[in-house]
Symmetry: C2
Subunit: 100 residues, 2 copies
Amino acid sequence: MILEVAVLDVKATMEKEFEASFFQAQNIISSMKGYISHQLHKCIESNSRYILLVNWETLEDHVDGFRNSSEYQQWKKLLHHFYEPFPEVEHYQYIAGNPS
Amino acid sequence: MILEVAVLDVKATMEKEFEASFFQAQNIISSMKGYISHQLHKCIESNSRYILLVNWETLEDHVDGFRNSSEYQQWKKLLHHFYEPFPEVEHYQYIAGNPS
């Protein structure tokens, strides 16, 4: 299992609009091959910052499968215009703690 | 519930030593008031990078309770010398997705 981590800085004052689009967009990601679960959280210290955590079965399910899909084009259309700067996405492997 | 997020950059070549210390240190954090769960993950793209995710009942349980405790002194002794630079810690609130 792979954890995708993206810190999302949303344009100031667009937080509520971003959240509404995310509620739609999460149905896209949830339907993809290899998707396990996801969470979106909002930062307490930085008002326009969010973190998206997505568990995938494999790295390829995210970077090859999802990003090359037609569903990704819809995801992009719903969400990408909110970000400034455009987020860096990283992938992580479980080491310790409570399993997901 | 509050999610503590810390991206941890560990000094190069000290990854295995850091992981061994973390296995000890996680018993400290797990015993604290307000602690719910935690996970440590290792980055695929950056070899010396980790992410620590901790769920706390309240923000105060982490920033007042844990950080002012004697247990935090042990945590610090076990882990802080591995970090370069010293990590920025942020706190997040759940917005959407699968609940923890």
